[in-house]
Amino acid sequence: MKKKIVVVGNGMVGYKFCEKLIAKDIAKKFEIIVFGEEIRPAYDRVHLSEYFAGKTVEDLTMAPTSWYAENDINLILSDPIVDIDREAKTVRSHHGLVKGYDYLVMATGSGAFVPPIPGVEKDGVFVYRTIEDLDLMQNHAKKATKGAVIGGGLLGLEAAKALLDLGLKEVHVIEFASRLMPRQIDEAGSRVLQAKLETLGLQIHLNKNTQEIVGDGIIEAMQFADGSRLDVDMLVISAGIKPRDEVAKVAGLEVGIRGGIVVNNALQTSDPNIFAIGECALAHHMIYGLVAPGYEMAEVVATKIIGGEKEFMPFDMSTKLKLIGVDVASFGDAFIQEPNAQTIVFENSAKGIYKRINISNDGKYLLGGVLVGDAEQYNMLLQNTKNKTILPADPEDLMLGARGGSEGGASGVMALPDEALICSCEAVTKGGICHEIIENKVTTLDGIKKCTKAGTGCGGCVPMVKDLINETMKSQGVFVRNILCEHFDYTRQELFDLVKIKGYKTYNDVLDHLGKGDGCEVCKPAVASIIASLWNEMILEKGNATVQDSNDRFLANIQKNGTYSVVPRIPGGEITPEKLIVIGQVALKYNLYTKITGGQRIDLFGAHVSDLPEIWEELVNAGFESGHAYGKSLRTVKSCVGSTWCRFGVQDAVSFAIEVEERYRGLRSPHKLKSAVSGCTRECAEAQSKDFGIIATEKGWNLYVCGNGGVKPRHAELLATDIDSATCLQYIDRFLMFYIKTAEPLTRTAPWLDKMEGGINYLKSVVIDDVLGMGETWDAEMNLLVEAYKCEWKEVVENPELRKRFTHFVNAPKVKDPNAKFEPMREMVKAAEWK
């Protein structure tokens, strides 16, 4: 006879308990019944605000209902437990279902605490806990412009972020206390955070006591105790949580004065057959309002039920989170101060950064601290605190990062002891991860995630896990080779050299001779790019069309509704009125949305795949050519107007930009390439944010390389000074050939340089001093590529066989995809929002 476990509540912690019990219950001795109050299975409440940023319910769901079925868990949703009969050991649900139990696990979580303010029942007043709450908010926000949040704590600021995401014009945060996030960070940190959030568009009101919510059935304003008033048409109350202990209370279980089911170290309630875990449990006299301790509680109870021994100890409440794009973290004892500790504080109010660490009076140990605005060092600081690592002579280096030296973060990971907890969500130690790497040869991040679950919770430890994999393998004497994928046992650079020596020109040739299997979406575009970089032949011929990434295969950028965007090349951003008119006419004829791009070109969106050849026929006839916006290749060379018109200009930036763009157009590379030419040191073309940027000087040009906008902005570094145009092009030729030959797939020039031993100085020695002796070869190779250039779209337009591939339905070439939907926007159209 199986023993019965009834789990009351299907939130994150309730789900995690099931997962852990299933994993431990190998003999299948237990039968699990789960009652959930909501209509859907457990979802990730920690990342709830991402629902407004585009994540779907499925994305957030912990496991689909099929998972419960596969594991023989009887999941009953939309049916909360309303009564526990402890004598009979049964529970009764709202719908009248009665189930017996041997063990009962209360995982009812918490609800929003709504203070008794007159008017909270009005329309337009919300709490922020469930997906239903979010759907209601989303509906209401469509007609709202001014929103407010009561509560300036962690959850309140999350809710404020949600209101910003919903597009409200004004968002106010109302806090009763004198500062933000008083539980997590100190007063100085609050001040910096507040200033930073205000620059991001939040209006913050402190020391405000809301007296009444005014309005006739629907909220119109908030009235405060100090006599002031704020007009709003939407309000979210996020003033705290209250444990859901009502059923436990009725059943006679002991609860705390301010709520929460009282449990001992084994997480047993006053009835030893009933456990409580997560935010409904009052353990060590507190409610643990974070997911990591909740998961630990699930682990303790699952272990206990299965017959093991484990206790729940006071849990570290260190947290790191991103609030509206601002890092906030607190760890260890964040508030301890003199005379019990020494504190070191760093503040940069211009950048909105505040850091504080507390160290023991003997200067040996880190006790805790606060980080606002930049929490990059959080993981290392937390590890140093938890493991009582002896501090270096200058402990501020830990908080600021070593300055000047070349010491990387990776050596820090290896210095940690084996017990160091790397993933606190899933309680995975460094030793556990290293064991998998060394003994079981798991050497990928995905592999480690699968076998240890590290990095699958909040994801904050992922960079450390990656470092651990690389450093552990190095320490094992394993030379870390980044092979392309399961089909090619070569790095990109090795493959590049082999394809070049053997002269292979099709993907199938490369796969047949150098690889195995049938290829995949990783190696196909990588090999296609190598072939294109080497020979610069038409990418859609010789059977290479189907190994191109979708954008290259259709020579256009796929957009949200399956239509494509069209970008003709406009070298240097210079365009005649005649050509502008043609673009306008084409856009009108095919009903395209037009927008000026960041690279001084015009993008035409919403083209059906079957219209692409006709659109391009008209553009090509008017003298346009492909802009390669779809390719991993040169995009644009931006320019400012330069000395031809500008009174400050010292060189003709536009003419040089056109020359540069026409030289490298169509050049395929490991990732996209962007460039710019500025006519003087004022740098209006923003050349220092480009892969290669050129800035005019009185004597010639300064050449900068490896800059980047994008995810990780980075200023380009100066490669050469005061060079003439010919030298500048020669250096760019060599720089690009070196990059194309040695970079990993999909690596921009900036991270390529970051990984290069010797950095910019080595790059200078290769490009300028020619230490590799490759200069002349590369010059010749680049000249061949430049001569081989042809406009891809002109070739398609003129080739009926190639044109035929541009249809949505092969058996109905004239029919357009009926699922490609548009919505009106201002005077034009946009892609229908995806689900």
Binding site: E58, P64, S66, E486, H487, N508, G517, D518, G519, C520, E521, C523, K524, P525, G543, A545, T546, V547, D549, S550, N551, R553, F554, I558, N561, G562, R805, T807, H808, F809, V810, N811, A812, V815, D817, N819, A820, W834, K835
Partner: protein, 116 residues
């Protein structure tokens, strides 16, 4: 096969309409069917054209290939590179989606799709 008795075969297109080692979409009985010419292995597959992740009609434009020791044939959606088995329709990149697969046969250079 038992299946063949209960399904109707619809002419989709000619074999040369589908590029080697790639796919294309055909409109059959109002359904968008993605047809794949796995020329390296001399195999043909058909699935729904809709990628369940973002509800986009795009799978026929994806790259095909194989994975694992069993060389499971697969297609990668061009939007976010979710991959699906061409045999079972199961998502191979960790999500719980399953896409519909169709019986397919080639006769005299013509491709037929089976529907119930």
């Amino acid at each position: 096969m038992v299946l063949e008795q209960t399904i109707t075969w619809h002419l989709a297109c000619n074999t040369e309409d589908i590029p080697a080692d790639g796919g294309a979409c055909a409109l059959i009985e109002g359904e968008q069917v993605a047809i794949y010419n796995f020329a390296r292995r001399g195999e043909w597959y058909a699935t729904q054209n809709l990628c369940p992740h973002r509800q986009q009609m795009a799978l026929s434009r994806g790259m095909i290939g194989s994975t694992g020791a069993e060389a499971e044939p697969k297609v990668a959606c061009p939007f976010h590179k979710k991959t699906f088995s061409l045999k079972s329709g199961e998502c191979l990149s960790g999500d719980d989606y399953v896409i519909k697969t169709y019986p397919i046969k080639v006769e005299n250079g013509q491709i037929f799709i089976g529907m119930e």
